[in-house]
Protein backbone atom coordinates (compact mmCIF):
# COMPACT_ATOMS: atom_id res chain seq x y z
CA UNK A 1 0.00 0.00 0.00
CA UNK A 2 1.27 3.42 -0.92
CA UNK A 3 1.35 6.04 1.75
CA UNK A 4 -0.33 9.29 0.89
CA UNK A 5 2.48 11.55 -0.25
CA UNK A 6 3.21 14.68 -2.25
CA UNK A 7 2.81 12.77 -5.51
CA UNK A 8 -0.78 11.97 -4.65
CA UNK A 9 -1.37 15.48 -3.46
CA UNK A 10 -0.34 16.96 -6.81
CA UNK A 11 -2.15 14.25 -8.71
CA UNK A 12 -5.42 14.83 -6.91
CA UNK A 13 -5.10 18.62 -7.04
CA UNK A 14 -4.62 18.41 -10.78
CA UNK A 15 -7.61 16.09 -11.23
CA UNK A 16 -9.80 18.32 -9.10
CA UNK A 17 -8.69 21.41 -11.01
CA UNK A 18 -9.54 19.86 -14.37
CA UNK A 19 -12.85 18.59 -12.99
CA UNK A 20 -13.67 22.11 -11.81
CA UNK A 21 -12.94 23.48 -15.27
CA UNK A 22 -15.41 20.97 -16.67
CA UNK A 23 -18.10 21.22 -14.03
CA UNK A 24 -18.21 24.94 -13.19
CA UNK A 25 -19.46 26.16 -16.60
CA UNK A 26 -22.06 23.40 -16.63
CA UNK A 27 -23.32 24.18 -13.15
CA UNK A 28 -23.35 27.90 -13.95
CA UNK A 29 -25.48 27.06 -16.99
CA UNK A 30 -28.00 25.03 -15.04
CA UNK A 31 -28.23 27.63 -12.25
CA UNK A 32 -28.26 30.52 -14.70
CA UNK A 33 -31.66 29.46 -15.96
CA UNK A 34 -33.07 30.05 -12.46
CA UNK A 35 -31.74 33.61 -12.15
CA UNK A 36 -33.07 36.92 -13.36
CA UNK A 37 -31.00 38.63 -16.02
CA UNK A 38 -29.91 41.23 -13.49
CA UNK A 39 -28.76 38.69 -10.96
CA UNK A 40 -26.91 36.72 -13.61
CA UNK A 41 -24.87 39.81 -14.41
CA UNK A 42 -23.74 40.33 -10.85
CA UNK A 43 -23.50 36.75 -9.69
CA UNK A 44 -22.87 34.47 -12.68
CA UNK A 45 -21.57 31.43 -10.81
CA UNK A 46 -23.23 31.43 -7.39
CA UNK A 47 -26.53 29.97 -6.23
CA UNK A 48 -29.60 32.02 -7.20
CA UNK A 49 -31.02 34.16 -4.39
CA UNK A 50 -34.54 33.37 -5.60
CA UNK A 51 -35.15 30.24 -7.62
CA UNK A 52 -37.15 31.48 -10.58
CA UNK A 53 -38.96 28.78 -12.51
CA UNK A 54 -40.56 31.00 -15.13
CA UNK A 55 -37.79 30.74 -17.74
CA UNK A 56 -37.70 26.97 -17.61
CA UNK A 57 -41.48 26.91 -17.46
CA UNK A 58 -41.81 29.07 -20.52
CA UNK A 59 -39.57 26.78 -22.57
CA UNK A 60 -41.14 23.53 -21.42
CA UNK A 61 -44.59 25.01 -21.93
CA UNK A 62 -43.84 26.04 -25.50
CA UNK A 63 -45.18 23.62 -28.09
CA UNK A 64 -42.46 24.67 -30.52
CA UNK A 65 -39.81 23.40 -28.12
CA UNK A 66 -41.35 19.94 -28.10
CA UNK A 67 -41.57 20.05 -31.87
CA UNK A 68 -37.81 20.70 -32.02
CA UNK A 69 -37.18 17.71 -29.78
CA UNK A 70 -39.54 15.51 -31.75
CA UNK A 71 -37.85 16.43 -35.05
CA UNK A 72 -34.42 15.69 -33.59
CA UNK A 73 -35.67 12.41 -32.17
CA UNK A 74 -37.27 11.32 -35.43
CA UNK A 75 -34.18 12.21 -37.46
CA UNK A 76 -31.87 10.44 -35.01
CA UNK A 77 -33.95 7.27 -34.77
CA UNK A 78 -34.39 7.04 -38.52
CA UNK A 79 -30.65 7.59 -39.04
CA UNK A 80 -29.79 4.90 -36.51
CA UNK A 81 -32.23 2.44 -38.08
CA UNK A 82 -30.96 2.99 -41.63
CA UNK A 83 -27.29 2.97 -40.66
CA UNK A 84 -27.65 -0.25 -38.69
CA UNK A 85 -29.76 -2.07 -41.24
CA UNK A 86 -27.94 -1.10 -44.44
CA UNK A 87 -24.50 -1.13 -42.83
CA UNK A 88 -24.91 -4.55 -41.28
CA UNK A 89 -26.37 -6.03 -44.46
CA UNK A 90 -23.42 -4.84 -46.51
CA UNK A 91 -20.92 -5.94 -43.87
CA UNK A 92 -22.60 -9.36 -43.70
CA UNK A 93 -22.16 -9.78 -47.44
CA UNK A 94 -18.47 -8.84 -47.21
CA UNK A 95 -17.96 -11.20 -44.27
CA UNK A 96 -19.85 -14.19 -45.70
CA UNK A 97 -18.87 -14.40 -49.33
CA UNK A 98 -15.90 -13.70 -51.54
CA UNK A 99 -16.77 -12.35 -54.92
CA UNK A 100 -15.08 -10.55 -57.76
CA UNK A 101 -14.55 -6.93 -56.72
CA UNK A 102 -15.34 -7.41 -53.05
CA UNK A 103 -12.03 -5.91 -51.91
CA UNK A 104 -12.51 -3.00 -54.25
CA UNK A 105 -16.05 -2.26 -53.05
CA UNK A 106 -15.00 -2.49 -49.42
CA UNK A 107 -12.16 -0.03 -49.98
CA UNK A 108 -14.59 2.20 -51.85
CA UNK A 109 -16.84 2.38 -48.78
CA UNK A 110 -13.87 3.00 -46.51
CA UNK A 111 -13.01 6.11 -48.52
CA UNK A 112 -15.83 7.70 -46.56
CA UNK A 113 -13.59 7.68 -43.48
CA UNK A 114 -10.82 9.52 -45.23
CA UNK A 115 -12.16 12.98 -45.96
CA UNK A 116 -14.10 15.61 -44.03
CA UNK A 117 -17.76 15.28 -44.85
CA UNK A 118 -18.27 19.04 -45.04
CA UNK A 119 -16.10 19.14 -48.17
CA UNK A 120 -19.03 18.05 -50.33
CA UNK A 121 -21.68 20.10 -48.61
CA UNK A 122 -22.60 22.36 -51.54
CA UNK A 123 -23.13 19.64 -54.15
CA UNK A 124 -24.84 17.57 -51.45
CA UNK A 125 -27.30 20.39 -50.91
CA UNK A 126 -28.05 20.39 -54.65
CA UNK A 127 -28.44 16.60 -54.71
CA UNK A 128 -30.95 16.77 -51.88
CA UNK A 129 -32.76 19.62 -53.60
CA UNK A 130 -32.92 17.75 -56.91
CA UNK A 131 -34.33 14.70 -55.15
CA UNK A 132 -37.10 16.92 -53.80
CA UNK A 133 -36.40 16.14 -50.15
CA UNK A 134 -35.04 19.54 -49.17
CA UNK A 135 -36.72 20.87 -46.04
CA UNK A 136 -37.82 17.38 -44.98
CA UNK A 137 -36.35 15.14 -42.29
CA UNK A 138 -35.14 12.74 -44.99
CA UNK A 139 -32.89 15.43 -46.38
CA UNK A 140 -30.94 15.15 -43.13
CA UNK A 141 -31.46 11.42 -42.45
CA UNK A 142 -30.23 10.02 -45.76
CA UNK A 143 -26.93 11.97 -45.92
CA UNK A 144 -26.27 11.17 -42.25
CA UNK A 145 -26.88 7.47 -42.81
CA UNK A 146 -24.69 7.57 -45.94
CA UNK A 147 -21.83 9.18 -44.03
CA UNK A 148 -22.22 6.63 -41.25
CA UNK A 149 -21.94 3.76 -43.73
CA UNK A 150 -18.12 3.56 -43.86
CA UNK A 151 -17.74 3.54 -40.12
CA UNK A 152 -20.50 1.00 -39.49
CA UNK A 153 -19.57 -1.41 -42.29
CA UNK A 154 -16.00 -1.49 -41.01
CA UNK A 155 -17.04 -2.27 -37.43
CA UNK A 156 -19.75 -4.76 -38.39
CA UNK A 157 -17.50 -6.71 -40.72
CA UNK A 158 -14.84 -7.15 -38.03
CA UNK A 159 -17.51 -8.41 -35.68
CA UNK A 160 -19.27 -10.70 -38.16
CA UNK A 161 -16.01 -12.34 -39.17
CA UNK A 162 -15.60 -13.49 -35.57
CA UNK A 163 -18.81 -15.51 -35.69
CA UNK A 164 -17.63 -19.12 -36.14
CA UNK A 165 -18.24 -20.42 -39.69
CA UNK A 166 -19.29 -23.81 -38.26
CA UNK A 167 -22.45 -22.14 -37.08
CA UNK A 168 -23.33 -21.23 -40.62
CA UNK A 169 -22.44 -24.67 -41.95
CA UNK A 170 -24.71 -26.29 -39.39
CA UNK A 171 -27.57 -23.95 -40.20
CA UNK A 172 -26.95 -24.61 -43.88
CA UNK A 173 -27.46 -28.35 -43.32
CA UNK A 174 -30.85 -27.57 -41.88
CA UNK A 175 -31.73 -25.70 -45.03
CA UNK A 176 -31.13 -22.20 -43.76
CA UNK A 177 -30.04 -19.75 -46.44
CA UNK A 178 -27.76 -16.75 -46.17
CA UNK A 179 -30.53 -14.23 -45.71
CA UNK A 180 -32.39 -16.31 -43.14
CA UNK A 181 -29.14 -16.85 -41.26
CA UNK A 182 -28.56 -13.11 -41.14
CA UNK A 183 -31.93 -12.40 -39.53
CA UNK A 184 -32.09 -15.45 -37.28
CA UNK A 185 -28.50 -15.86 -36.12
CA UNK A 186 -26.16 -13.03 -37.08
CA UNK A 187 -28.30 -10.13 -35.93
CA UNK A 188 -29.31 -11.65 -32.56
CA UNK A 189 -25.67 -12.54 -31.88
CA UNK A 190 -24.57 -8.99 -32.69
CA UNK A 191 -26.58 -7.07 -30.13
CA UNK A 192 -23.49 -5.58 -28.42
CA UNK A 193 -22.00 -4.14 -31.61
CA UNK A 194 -25.43 -3.02 -32.83
CA UNK A 195 -25.96 -1.15 -29.57
CA UNK A 196 -22.50 0.43 -29.67
CA UNK A 197 -22.91 1.73 -33.20
CA UNK A 198 -26.47 2.81 -32.48
CA UNK A 199 -25.29 4.93 -29.55
CA UNK A 200 -22.59 6.67 -31.57
CA UNK A 201 -24.81 7.33 -34.56
CA UNK A 202 -27.60 8.56 -32.32
CA UNK A 203 -25.44 11.00 -30.39
CA UNK A 204 -23.86 12.32 -33.58
CA UNK A 205 -27.22 12.84 -35.21
CA UNK A 206 -28.81 14.36 -32.11
CA UNK A 207 -25.98 16.89 -31.83
CA UNK A 208 -25.63 17.64 -35.53
CA UNK A 209 -25.93 21.25 -36.56
CA UNK A 210 -24.36 21.73 -40.00
CA UNK A 211 -26.61 19.36 -41.96
CA UNK A 212 -29.92 20.54 -40.48
CA UNK A 213 -28.73 24.12 -40.93
CA UNK A 214 -28.25 23.54 -44.62
CA UNK A 215 -31.19 21.27 -45.34
CA UNK A 216 -33.99 22.69 -43.17
CA UNK A 217 -35.58 26.08 -43.77
CA UNK A 218 -39.02 25.78 -42.28
CA UNK A 219 -39.15 26.43 -38.56
CA UNK A 220 -41.67 23.62 -38.10
CA UNK A 221 -39.03 21.12 -39.20
CA UNK A 222 -36.15 22.51 -37.11
CA UNK A 223 -34.06 20.25 -34.91
CA UNK A 224 -33.29 21.37 -31.37
CA UNK A 225 -29.79 22.60 -32.34
CA UNK A 226 -31.34 24.99 -34.85
CA UNK A 227 -33.96 25.90 -32.28
CA UNK A 228 -31.32 26.69 -29.67
CA UNK A 229 -29.50 29.04 -32.04
CA UNK A 230 -32.79 30.67 -32.96
CA UNK A 231 -33.68 31.12 -29.34
CA UNK A 232 -30.31 32.69 -28.63
CA UNK A 233 -30.83 35.11 -31.52
CA UNK A 234 -34.28 36.01 -30.25
CA UNK A 235 -33.19 36.74 -26.65
CA UNK A 236 -29.74 38.06 -27.33
CA UNK A 237 -29.66 40.06 -24.10
CA UNK A 238 -31.24 37.47 -21.85
CA UNK A 239 -28.58 34.91 -21.17
CA UNK A 240 -30.72 33.32 -18.48
CA UNK A 241 -33.26 32.21 -21.09
CA UNK A 242 -30.62 30.75 -23.39
CA UNK A 243 -29.00 28.96 -20.48
CA UNK A 244 -32.35 27.51 -19.46
CA UNK A 245 -32.90 26.31 -23.02
CA UNK A 246 -29.48 24.71 -23.17
CA UNK A 247 -30.03 23.01 -19.82
CA UNK A 248 -33.32 21.48 -20.86
CA UNK A 249 -31.69 20.00 -23.97
CA UNK A 250 -28.66 18.78 -22.01
CA UNK A 251 -30.78 16.69 -19.73
CA UNK A 252 -31.78 14.07 -22.33
CA UNK A 253 -28.20 13.86 -23.62
CA UNK A 254 -26.75 13.26 -20.18
CA UNK A 255 -29.40 10.72 -19.20
CA UNK A 256 -28.94 8.90 -22.48
CA UNK A 257 -25.18 8.91 -22.00
CA UNK A 258 -25.38 7.43 -18.52
CA UNK A 259 -27.71 4.72 -19.77
CA UNK A 260 -25.54 3.91 -22.78
CA UNK A 261 -22.16 4.51 -21.18
CA UNK A 262 -21.15 0.86 -21.38
CA UNK A 263 -21.57 0.84 -25.15
CA UNK A 264 -19.78 4.13 -25.70
CA UNK A 265 -16.75 2.87 -23.83
CA UNK A 266 -16.93 -0.45 -25.69
CA UNK A 267 -16.95 1.43 -29.00
CA UNK A 268 -13.90 3.48 -28.09
CA UNK A 269 -12.07 0.38 -26.94
CA UNK A 270 -12.93 -1.52 -30.09
CA UNK A 271 -11.61 1.27 -32.27
CA UNK A 272 -8.48 1.78 -30.23
CA UNK A 273 -7.43 -1.80 -29.86
CA UNK A 274 -8.13 -3.19 -33.29
CA UNK A 275 -7.53 -0.09 -35.42
Amino acid sequence: MNRFGWRDFWRISFLVLVSALVVVPLVATILGGFKSAGELRVEPFGLPSVWRLEFYGEIVGDLQFWRYLWNSLFISVATVFLTLLLGSMAAYTFAQIRFFGSRFLFTYLLLGLMFPFAAAIMPLFLTVRNLGILDTSWGVVLPQAAFGMAFSVMFFRTFFEQIPPDLFDAARMDGCGYIQFYFRVTLPLSTPILATIAVFVFVQSWNNYLLPLIMLNDRAGYTWTLGAMDYRGEYIQDWNRTLAFVTVTLAPAVVFFLAAQKYIVAGLTGGAVKG
Binding site: T29, G112, P116, A119, I121, I179, W239, G271
Partner: protein, 327 residues
Amino acid sequence: MTAASATHHPSASDERYGAAAFRRFRQSGKLTLLLTFLPPALLIFTIFVMLPMLNASFFSPYKWSGYGPAPWIFNADTGQTFGDWVGLRNFQQLAGHSAFATAASNTFKIILVSLFIQLPLALVLALMIYEKSYANTIFRLIFFVPYILAEVATGLIWSFVFDGNYGLSRTATDVLGLEEAFFPLADKDWAFNAILAVIVWKYFGFHMMIYIAGLQNISRDLIDAARIDGATPLEIVRYIKLPLLWPAITISIFYSVLGALQVFDIVMPMTAGGPSNSSHTLVSYLYNFGFIRLRVGFGSAVGVVLFIIGIVFAFTYRGTVQRRIAA
Protein backbone atom coordinates in the same frame (compact mmCIF):
# COMPACT_ATOMS: atom_id res chain seq x y z
CA MET B 1 -16.86 -22.74 -49.25
CA THR B 2 -17.91 -26.14 -47.96
CA ALA B 3 -21.48 -24.99 -47.94
CA ALA B 4 -21.26 -24.01 -51.57
CA SER B 5 -19.87 -27.35 -52.73
CA ALA B 6 -22.47 -29.26 -50.73
CA THR B 7 -25.24 -27.93 -52.90
CA HIS B 8 -23.29 -28.29 -56.11
CA HIS B 9 -24.85 -30.59 -58.69
CA PRO B 10 -22.59 -31.53 -61.61
CA SER B 11 -24.02 -30.79 -65.03
CA ALA B 12 -23.00 -30.30 -68.62
CA SER B 13 -22.17 -26.66 -68.21
CA ASP B 14 -19.31 -27.58 -65.86
CA GLU B 15 -17.13 -27.89 -68.94
CA ARG B 16 -16.59 -24.19 -68.82
CA TYR B 17 -15.19 -23.35 -65.40
CA GLY B 18 -16.46 -19.77 -65.26
CA ALA B 19 -20.04 -20.71 -66.00
CA ALA B 20 -19.91 -23.54 -63.47
CA ALA B 21 -18.53 -21.30 -60.79
CA PHE B 22 -21.25 -18.81 -61.49
CA ARG B 23 -23.88 -21.56 -61.33
CA ARG B 24 -22.55 -22.71 -57.98
CA PHE B 25 -22.49 -19.11 -56.86
CA ARG B 26 -26.10 -18.68 -57.90
CA GLN B 27 -27.42 -21.99 -56.56
CA SER B 28 -25.79 -21.55 -53.18
CA GLY B 29 -27.79 -18.38 -52.68
CA LYS B 30 -24.68 -16.22 -52.76
CA LEU B 31 -25.86 -14.35 -55.81
CA THR B 32 -29.18 -13.49 -54.19
CA LEU B 33 -27.34 -12.28 -51.12
CA LEU B 34 -24.96 -10.18 -53.17
CA LEU B 35 -27.76 -8.62 -55.19
CA THR B 36 -30.04 -7.83 -52.26
CA PHE B 37 -27.80 -7.02 -49.31
CA LEU B 38 -25.01 -4.98 -50.82
CA PRO B 39 -26.69 -2.51 -53.21
CA PRO B 40 -28.66 -0.43 -50.66
CA ALA B 41 -25.54 0.58 -48.74
CA LEU B 42 -23.54 1.19 -51.90
CA LEU B 43 -26.37 3.18 -53.44
CA ILE B 44 -26.96 5.51 -50.52
CA PHE B 45 -23.20 5.97 -50.05
CA THR B 46 -22.70 6.75 -53.73
CA ILE B 47 -25.59 9.19 -53.98
CA PHE B 48 -24.95 11.14 -50.79
CA VAL B 49 -21.18 10.88 -50.33
CA MET B 50 -19.22 9.98 -53.44
CA LEU B 51 -21.24 11.73 -56.14
CA PRO B 52 -21.40 15.04 -54.26
CA MET B 53 -17.64 14.86 -53.73
CA LEU B 54 -17.13 14.12 -57.41
CA ASN B 55 -19.53 16.92 -58.30
CA ALA B 56 -17.57 19.34 -56.16
CA SER B 57 -14.61 18.85 -58.45
CA PHE B 58 -16.83 19.20 -61.54
CA PHE B 59 -18.49 22.38 -60.23
CA SER B 60 -15.32 24.03 -59.00
CA PRO B 61 -14.30 25.59 -62.36
CA TYR B 62 -17.67 27.34 -62.74
CA LYS B 63 -19.33 30.47 -61.49
CA TRP B 64 -22.80 29.17 -60.68
CA SER B 65 -25.67 30.11 -58.40
CA GLY B 66 -27.04 26.57 -58.24
CA TYR B 67 -29.97 27.36 -60.48
CA GLY B 68 -30.64 24.57 -62.99
CA PRO B 69 -29.44 20.96 -62.99
CA ALA B 70 -25.73 21.58 -63.65
CA PRO B 71 -23.57 24.56 -64.62
CA TRP B 72 -22.61 23.12 -68.01
CA ILE B 73 -26.16 22.43 -69.17
CA PHE B 74 -27.67 24.72 -71.76
CA ASN B 75 -30.51 26.93 -70.56
CA ALA B 76 -32.98 27.46 -73.41
CA ASP B 77 -34.50 30.53 -71.74
CA THR B 78 -31.33 32.58 -71.61
CA GLY B 79 -29.51 31.03 -74.55
CA GLN B 80 -26.52 30.31 -72.31
CA THR B 81 -25.38 27.58 -69.97
CA PHE B 82 -26.62 27.77 -66.38
CA GLY B 83 -23.14 28.51 -65.06
CA ASP B 84 -20.10 30.31 -66.48
CA TRP B 85 -16.85 28.48 -67.01
CA VAL B 86 -14.14 30.36 -65.14
CA GLY B 87 -11.37 27.75 -65.11
CA LEU B 88 -9.09 28.10 -62.12
CA ARG B 89 -10.37 31.51 -61.13
CA ASN B 90 -12.21 30.20 -58.05
CA PHE B 91 -8.99 28.72 -56.77
CA GLN B 92 -7.07 31.90 -57.56
CA GLN B 93 -9.67 33.92 -55.70
CA LEU B 94 -9.33 31.59 -52.72
CA ALA B 95 -5.57 31.91 -52.71
CA GLY B 96 -5.84 35.69 -52.77
CA HIS B 97 -8.54 35.99 -50.11
CA SER B 98 -7.13 37.01 -46.74
CA ALA B 99 -10.11 35.50 -44.90
CA PHE B 100 -9.28 32.15 -46.49
CA ALA B 101 -5.67 32.42 -45.38
CA THR B 102 -6.90 33.15 -41.86
CA ALA B 103 -9.33 30.22 -41.99
CA ALA B 104 -6.58 27.89 -43.18
CA SER B 105 -4.15 29.06 -40.52
CA ASN B 106 -6.88 28.77 -37.87
CA THR B 107 -7.57 25.20 -38.93
CA PHE B 108 -3.84 24.53 -38.74
CA LYS B 109 -3.82 26.03 -35.23
CA ILE B 110 -6.56 23.59 -34.21
CA ILE B 111 -4.36 20.73 -35.39
CA LEU B 112 -1.36 22.08 -33.46
CA VAL B 113 -3.32 22.68 -30.27
CA SER B 114 -4.93 19.24 -30.54
CA LEU B 115 -1.61 17.48 -30.99
CA PHE B 116 0.54 19.45 -28.57
CA ILE B 117 -1.85 20.48 -25.81
CA GLN B 118 -4.96 18.33 -25.98
CA LEU B 119 -3.36 14.93 -26.56
CA PRO B 120 -0.64 15.33 -23.89
CA LEU B 121 -3.28 16.52 -21.43
CA ALA B 122 -5.46 13.53 -22.27
CA LEU B 123 -2.48 11.22 -21.90
CA VAL B 124 -1.45 12.60 -18.51
CA LEU B 125 -5.02 12.30 -17.24
CA ALA B 126 -5.33 8.78 -18.63
CA LEU B 127 -2.13 7.73 -16.86
CA MET B 128 -3.48 9.19 -13.64
CA ILE B 129 -6.87 7.50 -13.65
CA TYR B 130 -6.70 4.41 -15.85
CA GLU B 131 -6.61 2.01 -12.92
CA LYS B 132 -9.98 0.77 -11.78
CA SER B 133 -11.20 2.44 -8.64
CA TYR B 134 -14.32 4.24 -7.52
CA ALA B 135 -12.74 7.71 -7.53
CA ASN B 136 -11.19 7.14 -10.94
CA THR B 137 -14.54 6.16 -12.42
CA ILE B 138 -16.05 9.42 -11.18
CA PHE B 139 -13.22 11.48 -12.70
CA ARG B 140 -13.52 9.56 -15.95
CA LEU B 141 -17.25 10.28 -16.13
CA ILE B 142 -16.72 13.98 -15.44
CA PHE B 143 -14.00 14.31 -18.08
CA PHE B 144 -16.13 12.55 -20.65
CA VAL B 145 -19.19 14.76 -20.20
CA PRO B 146 -18.02 17.59 -22.51
CA TYR B 147 -17.61 15.09 -25.34
CA ILE B 148 -21.28 14.11 -25.32
CA LEU B 149 -22.53 17.68 -25.17
CA ALA B 150 -23.63 19.04 -28.50
CA GLU B 151 -21.14 21.47 -30.06
CA VAL B 152 -23.92 24.04 -30.27
CA ALA B 153 -24.69 23.71 -26.55
CA THR B 154 -20.98 23.87 -25.73
CA GLY B 155 -20.57 26.97 -27.86
CA LEU B 156 -23.53 28.69 -26.21
CA ILE B 157 -22.35 27.85 -22.71
CA TRP B 158 -18.88 29.20 -23.41
CA SER B 159 -20.09 32.34 -25.13
CA PHE B 160 -21.86 33.02 -21.85
CA VAL B 161 -18.68 32.34 -19.89
CA PHE B 162 -16.72 34.63 -22.19
CA ASP B 163 -19.38 37.37 -22.25
CA GLY B 164 -17.76 40.49 -20.84
CA ASN B 165 -20.95 41.54 -19.08
CA TYR B 166 -21.63 38.25 -17.38
CA GLY B 167 -19.42 35.27 -17.02
CA LEU B 168 -15.86 34.37 -16.34
CA SER B 169 -14.67 37.28 -18.36
CA ARG B 170 -16.42 39.75 -16.06
CA THR B 171 -15.14 38.01 -12.95
CA ALA B 172 -11.64 38.22 -14.40
CA THR B 173 -11.92 41.94 -15.14
CA ASP B 174 -13.27 42.54 -11.64
CA VAL B 175 -10.43 40.61 -10.06
CA LEU B 176 -7.84 42.41 -12.16
CA GLY B 177 -9.54 45.71 -11.42
CA LEU B 178 -9.82 46.65 -15.09
CA GLU B 179 -11.98 49.62 -15.99
CA GLU B 180 -13.61 48.24 -19.10
CA ALA B 181 -15.32 44.92 -19.59
CA PHE B 182 -13.37 42.51 -21.76
CA PHE B 183 -15.13 40.63 -24.56
CA PRO B 184 -12.69 38.02 -25.82
CA LEU B 185 -15.09 36.80 -28.50
CA ALA B 186 -15.40 40.30 -29.92
CA ASP B 187 -11.65 40.81 -29.95
CA LYS B 188 -9.80 39.97 -33.15
CA ASP B 189 -6.73 38.74 -31.32
CA TRP B 190 -8.58 36.67 -28.76
CA ALA B 191 -11.66 35.25 -30.46
CA PHE B 192 -9.99 32.26 -32.02
CA ASN B 193 -7.85 31.52 -29.00
CA ALA B 194 -11.05 31.31 -26.99
CA ILE B 195 -12.43 28.82 -29.52
CA LEU B 196 -9.22 26.78 -29.30
CA ALA B 197 -9.60 26.58 -25.53
CA VAL B 198 -13.17 25.36 -25.90
CA ILE B 199 -12.12 22.74 -28.45
CA VAL B 200 -9.60 21.34 -25.97
CA TRP B 201 -12.25 21.44 -23.26
CA LYS B 202 -14.72 19.56 -25.43
CA TYR B 203 -12.55 16.78 -26.84
CA PHE B 204 -9.80 15.93 -24.35
CA GLY B 205 -12.09 13.42 -22.62
CA PHE B 206 -12.63 11.49 -25.84
CA HIS B 207 -8.90 11.02 -26.36
CA MET B 208 -8.41 10.24 -22.70
CA MET B 209 -10.92 7.38 -23.02
CA ILE B 210 -9.01 5.94 -25.99
CA TYR B 211 -5.80 6.01 -23.94
CA ILE B 212 -7.48 4.50 -20.89
CA ALA B 213 -8.74 1.63 -22.99
CA GLY B 214 -5.21 1.11 -24.33
CA LEU B 215 -3.60 1.34 -20.89
CA GLN B 216 -6.01 -1.18 -19.42
CA ASN B 217 -4.88 -3.67 -22.02
CA ILE B 218 -1.27 -3.54 -20.87
CA SER B 219 -0.47 -6.62 -18.87
CA ARG B 220 0.01 -6.04 -15.15
CA ASP B 221 2.78 -8.61 -15.03
CA LEU B 222 4.92 -6.54 -17.35
CA ILE B 223 4.61 -3.48 -15.15
CA ASP B 224 5.15 -5.47 -11.95
CA ALA B 225 8.24 -7.11 -13.44
CA ALA B 226 9.70 -3.73 -14.35
CA ARG B 227 8.98 -2.42 -10.88
CA ILE B 228 10.74 -5.38 -9.28
CA ASP B 229 13.72 -4.70 -11.51
CA GLY B 230 13.86 -1.26 -9.95
CA ALA B 231 12.27 0.90 -12.67
CA THR B 232 10.88 4.22 -11.41
CA PRO B 233 7.26 5.10 -12.22
CA LEU B 234 8.51 7.59 -14.81
CA GLU B 235 10.69 4.95 -16.44
CA ILE B 236 7.75 2.57 -16.56
CA VAL B 237 5.74 5.22 -18.38
CA ARG B 238 8.56 6.02 -20.73
CA TYR B 239 9.75 2.51 -21.61
CA ILE B 240 6.65 0.34 -21.18
CA LYS B 241 3.39 2.25 -21.17
CA LEU B 242 4.09 4.76 -23.94
CA PRO B 243 5.48 2.25 -26.46
CA LEU B 244 2.60 -0.15 -25.85
CA LEU B 245 0.13 2.71 -26.10
CA TRP B 246 1.52 3.90 -29.42
CA PRO B 247 -1.21 2.23 -31.55
CA ALA B 248 -3.89 4.02 -29.52
CA ILE B 249 -1.97 7.29 -29.83
CA THR B 250 -1.75 7.01 -33.60
CA ILE B 251 -5.51 6.49 -33.75
CA SER B 252 -6.19 9.49 -31.60
CA ILE B 253 -3.85 11.61 -33.75
CA PHE B 254 -5.79 10.49 -36.81
CA TYR B 255 -9.13 11.45 -35.24
CA SER B 256 -7.68 14.77 -34.06
CA VAL B 257 -6.45 15.87 -37.45
CA LEU B 258 -9.50 14.74 -39.39
CA GLY B 259 -11.72 16.27 -36.71
CA ALA B 260 -9.80 19.55 -36.84
CA LEU B 261 -10.56 19.80 -40.55
CA GLN B 262 -14.32 19.67 -39.83
CA VAL B 263 -14.70 22.14 -36.97
CA PHE B 264 -17.79 24.21 -37.62
CA ASP B 265 -20.61 23.71 -35.13
CA ILE B 266 -18.63 25.16 -32.25
CA VAL B 267 -17.62 28.30 -34.16
CA MET B 268 -21.14 29.32 -35.11
CA PRO B 269 -22.60 29.98 -31.65
CA MET B 270 -19.37 31.54 -30.38
CA THR B 271 -18.30 33.96 -33.09
CA ALA B 272 -19.86 32.84 -36.41
CA GLY B 273 -16.40 33.52 -37.85
CA GLY B 274 -16.13 37.11 -36.64
CA PRO B 275 -15.01 39.69 -35.69
CA SER B 276 -14.01 40.72 -39.21
CA ASN B 277 -13.54 37.09 -40.33
CA SER B 278 -10.77 36.48 -37.84
CA SER B 279 -12.12 33.23 -36.41
CA HIS B 280 -13.22 31.21 -39.43
CA THR B 281 -12.26 27.59 -39.90
CA LEU B 282 -12.14 26.07 -43.37
CA VAL B 283 -15.69 24.76 -43.00
CA SER B 284 -17.18 27.95 -41.59
CA TYR B 285 -15.41 29.81 -44.38
CA LEU B 286 -17.00 27.43 -46.88
CA TYR B 287 -20.41 27.94 -45.30
CA ASN B 288 -20.10 31.69 -45.14
CA PHE B 289 -18.54 32.51 -48.49
CA GLY B 290 -19.91 29.59 -50.49
CA PHE B 291 -23.22 28.42 -49.15
CA ILE B 292 -24.73 31.65 -47.79
CA ARG B 293 -23.84 33.56 -50.94
CA LEU B 294 -25.01 30.70 -53.16
CA ARG B 295 -21.66 30.52 -54.92
CA VAL B 296 -21.73 26.86 -55.78
CA GLY B 297 -18.54 26.86 -57.84
CA PHE B 298 -16.57 28.78 -55.24
CA GLY B 299 -17.91 26.67 -52.37
CA SER B 300 -17.05 23.54 -54.32
CA ALA B 301 -13.51 24.82 -54.82
CA VAL B 302 -13.14 25.20 -51.05
CA GLY B 303 -14.55 21.68 -50.70
CA VAL B 304 -11.99 20.33 -53.15
CA VAL B 305 -9.18 21.92 -51.12
CA LEU B 306 -10.60 20.36 -47.93
CA PHE B 307 -10.93 17.00 -49.65
CA ILE B 308 -7.34 17.07 -50.89
CA ILE B 309 -5.97 18.00 -47.47
CA GLY B 310 -8.01 15.23 -45.83
CA ILE B 311 -7.21 12.49 -48.30
CA VAL B 312 -3.50 13.34 -48.59
CA PHE B 313 -3.20 13.30 -44.83
CA ALA B 314 -5.17 10.06 -44.49
CA PHE B 315 -3.13 8.20 -47.06
CA THR B 316 0.30 9.42 -46.02
CA TYR B 317 -0.61 8.73 -42.40
CA ARG B 318 -1.92 5.24 -43.11
CA GLY B 319 1.01 4.54 -45.40
CA THR B 320 3.74 5.65 -42.98
CA VAL B 321 2.86 5.89 -39.30
CA GLN B 322 0.16 3.25 -39.15
CA ARG B 323 1.91 0.80 -41.45
CA ARG B 324 4.92 0.77 -39.16
CA ILE B 325 2.65 -0.47 -36.38
CA ALA B 326 1.12 -3.23 -38.42
CA ALA B 327 4.60 -4.48 -39.37
